[in-house]
Symmetry: C2
Subunit: 622 residues, 2 copies
C-alpha cells in the first residue's frame, strides 16, 4: 500500500493519502471543500479540478460528458473519478469551490411567552451531622420538597457525581436546575441565575443556532454555518445514497453534523463570553433526513417507498449521548416529524406561524430539495411533500450554484431593449451600476427571476420553449440545444458565459408544476377555491420575488398583498419550543393532527401535474 502526498491549491493544504484514493476523497479528508452536488455519483460535473503536477488514473468516459477537449488538454478532471497514483498538485478552480454561505437564517423578532423546560430553584439546607445522617441526595430532595413542593425528582448521573462538593462549597446553599419538574440537571453552589438554551435548525445546506437566556427569554446571539455534510452530497437523496453505499457513511455523516454543531456552539458561546457548559437545554428542527442523521439513525428507508421514518414522535435525549459539547446533563429536544419527508422543520414552521389558530385559509410553502406544503386553518390541516428536485436550489442547472458570493440572485430584462441586468450575492450594486460586479453562477432566486422575465418578454413560450426563431444575440444554440445568455464572458469571474439552457427551464417547470399541482390537490381535498394567504418559508422563500413566482405558476393565485415571506420559520419554531415548553406539547399535538396527503396516491395527480407544466399553467389566471 503506497502513500502519496497531495497538495491542494490555492489553499496549499497538504495531506498524505493512500494510492488509489480519489481526489474528492482526498479533498474531504484535507478539509478542502470541493463542490459535489451528486455526492460522488459522477453525474453532476461540478467537481472539476485541474492536475498541475503528478499522475492521476486515466481519463474516463464519465468525465468526457462534462469536460470538453480543450479543458482535458489542460489537465481538467472530475475529482470524484480521478484516482491519485503519485504525489500530485491539484488546483481547485473557483467555480468548483464551496464558498461559505452568508448568514441567511435569521428569525423574526417577536415576543414568545417564557416558560422554559429548565428552571432554577435556590435552597438552603440543614448541614449533615451525626444527629442527621440523611444522604446528600435525600437532603437536597427534602429541601426542594419543603420549599417548592417538588417531588419524585430524579438526579442525572453527572450531577450526582459532583453533588457532595457542590452542597458543601457554599455552606449547604445551592441552586438546582430542574428539567420539567422531573430531573435535577445541575447543582451549583450558592445563588445562580444564569441558564442558557440553544435552538438549532439543521438545514440540508445551512445550520443555524440561536442562543437564548432562559431567565428572560432574550435571544442573545445567532450563528450560522454551512452544514458540513455538504461535502458528502448536496441534497438529501445524495446523502442517503452516501450512507447506503459506504460502510462508514452513516457514521461519517453523523460525526460531520455533530462536529459542525460543536464548532457552532464553541463560536456562539465564546462570542458571548460564556462557556459551553452554560447551555442546559437544546431544541432541534430539521427535515426527516437531517433529523435521522443527527441521531445516527440509518435514513435508508426514508429514501425508498413508502418512505417510512424510524420515529415520528418528539425525542428527548441527553446531549452527551450525541457527543454535543454542552453541559453534560443538558437535554436535547427534537421536534416531532409529520410524515416521510415532512419533517421536524415543518413542525417548527407550524408552531411559529400557528395556522391552527387562524380562520383564514393559509398555504405555507417551504422549498428545499423537497417542497413541503401545509394548507389549512383552525378546522383542518393538510400537509404534503412534492418532489421539486433540487433545481430551485440551483442544482441540476448548468450554471446553478447556491446563494453564495457571486451568485446571480436577481435578473431584470428591459422590455424595450431586452438588455439584461443582474445583481449578485455579496454586492450591493446591480451590474448596470458597477463594472466591477462579476457573476460566478446563478442561484435559485436568480433562476426563477430569469425564467419569469424571459416568459414576460416573450422569449419563452407558454409551453416553456425558448423561441429560437426570435433573433437576438443572447439567444444561442449549442450542441445541447437552445440557451439564453444571462451574463456575458466579461461579466463573469471565470470568463465564460453564464447561460440558462432549455434543459434548465424544463427543470424549473417540473419543480414549479410539482408545487402547484400539490397545492391544487390539497385545496381540492379541503374544498377550498381560493387562498387567503400564502407564506413562503425558509431561505428560498425569503429571497425569491413572490410576484414573479406566482406569475410563472409556482403556487395558486392569491392577493399579492397576502403573499409573505416568513423567514426561517423552522428556526423560529425551534426557538419557540426552547423558550416555551408548552409549545412542545403543542408541536406533538399538531404533528399528530396534520393529515398527510401522499400526492402520488391521489388519482388526479398526473393530470394536475401535467396541466401545471406550462407558464403559468393550463388554467392560468394571467
Amino acid at each position: 500500500m503506497r502513500k502519496f502526498k497531495v497538495t491542494f491549491l490555492p489553499s496549499r493544504k497538504e495531506r498524505e493519502i493512500i494510492e488509489g484514493e480519489t481526489v474528492l476523497e482526498a479533498a474531504r479528508e484535507s478539509g478542502v471543500e470541493v463542490e459535489s452536488l451528486c455526492g460522488g455519483l459522477r453525474n453532476c460535473g461540478k467537481c472539476k479540478v485541474q492536475l498541475l503536477d503528478g499522475t492521476l488514473s486515466p481519463f474516463t468516459d464519465d468525465e468526457s460528458k462534462f469536460i470538453p477537449d480543450c479543458e482535458k488538454a489542460n489537465g481538467y478532471r472530475l475529482a470524484c473519478v480521478a484516482q491519485i497514483l503519485s504525489d500530485v498538485q491539484i488546483f481547485v478552480p473557483e467555480i468548483s469551490r464551496i464558498e461559505k454561505q452568508g448568514l441567511r437564517k435569521a428569525v423574526a423578532e417577536r415576543t414568545i411567552g417564557l416558560n422554559p423546560a429548565i428552571l432554577p430553584y435556590y435552597v438552603e439546607l440543614p448541614p449533615a451531622s451525626l444527629n442527621d445522617l440523611t444522604a446528600d441526595v435525600d437532603r437536597l430532595k427534602n429541601g426542594l420538597w419543603e420549599k417548592y413542593h417538588l417531588h419524585g425528582l430524579d438526579i442525572d448521573y453527572p450531577t450526582l457525581l459532583k453533588l457532595s462538593h457542590a452542597l458543601r462549597e457554599k455552606d449547604w446553599k445551592v441552586t438546582a436546575s430542574i428539567w420539567m419538574e422531573k430531573e435535577i440537571l445541575d447543582v451549583r453552589p450558592g445563588r445562580s441565575d444564569h441558564f442558557y438554551g440553544l435552538a438549532i435548525d439543521i438545514g440540508t445546506t445551512t445550520i443555524a443556532g440561536y442562543l437564548c437566556d432562559l431567565q428572560n427569554g432574550e435571544l442573545i446571539a445567532t450563528q450560522s454555518m454551512m452544514n458540513p455534510q455538504v461535502v458528502y452530497g448536496e441534497d438529501v437523496m445524495s446523502r442517503i445514497t452516501y450512507t447506503a453505499t459506504h460502510a462508514d457513511g452513516l457514521e461519517k455523516l453523523h460525526r460531520s453534523i455533530i462536529n459542525g454543531l460543536n464548532q457552532l456552539i464553541k463560536a456562539i458561546v465564546e462570542g458571548c463570553s460564556l462557556f459551553s457548559k452554560d447551555i442546559l437545554d437544546l431544541t432541534v428542527v430539521g427535515n426527516t433526513a437531517m433529523h435521522h442523521l443527527f441521531l445516527k439513525i440509518d435514513p435508508q428507508y426514508l429514501g425508498v417507498s413508502p418512505f417510512t421514518p424510524t420515529v415520528h414522535q418528539s425525542i428527548n435525549i441527553k446531549a452527551r449521548d450525541l457527543g454535543l459539547k454542552v453541559h453534560p446533563s443538558a437535554n436535547v429536544y427534537l421536534l416531532p416529524i409529520e410524515a416521510g419527508f415532512v419533517g421536524a422543520d415543518n413542525v417548527g414552521v407550524l408552531i411559529a406561524q400557528e395556522p391552527y389558530n387562524q380562520d383564514q385559509m393559509v398555504l405555507i410553502i417551504d422549498v428545499g430539495t423537497n417542497g413541503e406544503l401545509v394548507l389549512g386553518n383552525r378546522n383542518r390541516l393538510l400537509s404534503s411533500s412534492c418532489a421539486t428536485g433540487p433545481a430551485l436550489e440551483g442544482a441540476h442547472i448548468k450554471f446553478g450554484m447556491r446563494a453564495t458570493n457571486g451568485a446571480i440572485e436577481k435578473v431584470r430584462i428591459d422590455p424595450e431593449t431586452l438588455k439584461v441586468d443582474f445583481k449578485v450575492v455579496g454586492e450591493t450594486q446591480w451590474k448596470s451600476e458597477s463594472k466591477s460586479v462579476k457573476a460566478k453562477g446563478i442561484c435559485g432566486s436568480g433562476i426563477l427571476d430569469a425564467v419569469a422575465e424571459l416568459y414576460w418578454n416573450g422569449i419563452i413560450e407558454k409551453s416553456g420553449r425558448l423561441k429560437k426563431e426570435r433573433s437576438m444575440p443572447r439567444l444561442k444554440t449549442s450542441d445541447e440545444g437552445a440557451e439564453f445568455v444571462i451574463a456575458e464572458k466579461d461579466e463573469t469571474t471565470h470568463g465564460k458565459e453564464i447561460t440558462l439552457t432549455q434543459q434548465d427551464i424544463r427543470n424549473i417547470q417540473l419543480a414549479k408544476a410539482a408545487l402547484y399541482a400539490g397545492a391544487r390537490l390539497m385545496m381540492k381535498r379541503c374544498g377550498v377555491q381560493k387562498l387567503d394567504r400564502v407564506m413562503l418559508a425558509g431561505s428560498f422563500g425569503t429571497h425569491i420575488d413572490a410576484e414573479r413566482a406566482m406569475r410563472i405558476g409556482m403556487f395558486p393565485e392569491c392577493d399579492l398583498n397576502n403573499v409573505i415571506a416568513v423567514g426561517n420559520a423552522a428556526g423560529e419554531g425551534a426557538m419557540i419550543a426552547l423558550l416555551n415548553r408548552e409549545k412542545r406539547g403543542k408541536a406533538e399535538e399538531i404533528a399528530r393532527k396534520v393529515e398527510y396527503l401522499e400526492l402520488t396516491l391521489e388519482k388526479n395527480f398526473q393530470e394536475e401535474f401535467i396541466e401545471a407544466i406550462p407558464f403559468p399553467n393550463l388554467k392560468g389566471f394571467l
Copy 2:
C-alpha cells in the same frame, strides 16, 4: 525529565518510568501486585522489596521502623518510599506479593420466585406501505399495545438506532425486551428467548459475579476475582485516603473496578459461550465506599464525621454510562444504602435472610473492615456499624495476611502437650499430617482460632495478657514484648517464625469488643435479653469457627446450634434482586425501615466497650 527502565523480578515485567517515581507506583503501572495494606502511607511495612541493581533514593527513618539492619544491608526497602533514580532491578519477595484469592464467594442454592425486570414480548407487525405511513417506533408501540396492552413505553437510544433494520430483517416479526414495562431495551428479529442478567457483589477484597438465565431463573455461572483496587490500599479507609490525596485518585479507583468488572464479565460469558451483549440487566451490592467508587462518586465525606453518603436510595443507571461492556441498553440497579457504613451489601444480606419476616430475634454479623450488625425481627430492625479495624482480616497483625494460599486458617493447641497444629489455605492436610505443609502468614480465622486456643489453654489471661511467667519454648520475649510462636522456622515458606504478638492479641480484643459492645447496645435498645439466632455473613463469617468466636466473646451468648454461617448473603441478595424485581421494592422499603444506631452517640458505649475487652468479657458466661 529523565526516564529509566525498571525490571521486576521474579515476574520479569519491565516498564519505562520517570525519574523519581516510587517503586510502588512503578509496580502498579506495570501490573505487578505488591502488598500495601496502608495504601502507601508508610505505616504498614508490608511492601518490602529488594534492590538488586541500580540506584534508589536514600534510606529513610520511615523505613528503619520496618527494615532491620540485616535486611537493609541486603538492599531491602519499602516500595512506597524508595524513589527510582536509575535503571533498576527490583525483586519482590514472596511475602510482599499479593496472591490470587480463592473463590470464596459462593451463594447458597435456593429457589427465588422469578419475576425479572426484563421481559421479552414477541409481536408480528403489519408492514409499512404507502397506505400505512406509521413510523417504525409507533408501529412497534402499536403492536405492543394491541397484543400486550403495554403503553407509554420509551425506547432507549441505541435500540432506536437499530430499530428500522431489526423490524425488516424477519418480515416485521420481532421480540422486544422491555424493562419494567417502561422502556424498550432491545429489539431482535424474530422470536428470541435468551435473556441474561448478572448480579455483582463488589467486596473490598473480592468481587463476584453471578450470571443468571432470566427466562428460567437458573444460576448458570459464577466468577470471582480480586478487587483490583487492592493495589491502591487494602481497606476502605486507605482507598478513601488515596482518592483524597491523589488528584486522579477517584478516576483511577473507578476505572480500576470498572476494568476489573469488564474482565469478569468477559470471563463469565465466554465460559458459557455467550456474548457480553446478551447481558441485559445487572444488580450490584457493595459497601458504601465500593458503591460510591463504582459510580465515581467522591467518597471523601464517607471518611469523616458525620460519614454522610451522597445517596441512600437505590439507583438505576445505564451500563454504558459506567463503561460496562454488556448490552448497550442494559440497566444497572444498585441496591440502596442504609446509612454511612451500612451499605448496599447489608441490604443484600437483609433481602437474602429476611429477618423482617421472622418472629425470632436474629443478630446478623457481617465482618469486614467494619463490623456491620443488624438486630431484629418482623417488628423492628436496628443496624449499626462498629469500627473493628482490619485485624480480623489479617491486617495490622505482625504476620497477618489475607486468606490466600499459605495462610494459616485453623490452629489447634493440644491441652496436654501444648503442641501447636495448623492448617493452611490451599492444603487439605494439617501440618501434623504432612511435612510439606508450609505457612506464609496467618489470616483472620486462624488468628481467631489461635487466640481462642491460647485463652483456653491458659496461655493468655482473661485480661488478654500473655502469661510470660509460664515456661514454654514457644512463648518468647522480643524487643516488641511477648509473642507466641505459631509456626516454627522450618514450618514456614520464608524460614522465619510466624508468631502472634501481645500487640496482635490486643488488636483482636479491640475488634471483638467493638462487635460485642455494639450487639449489646442494640439488644438494650430493643429490650432483648437473649438472641434466638446469630447469622455470620460474608467470607469471614463462613470461615471462622463459630464456637471459638463466641467463646472469646465476639458476640453475645446464643445456643450454638443456632449460630450459622450464611455464606455470601450480600451476593445472594444481589441475585435475588436480579431475579425478582419485587425484591427491589422490598430492598428500598427495608433500607428505609431499618433504624440506624450510631453507637458512638449511645451514652453507655464506652462502658460496654471497656467491659467487653477481657476474654470472654466482664459479664462472661463461661
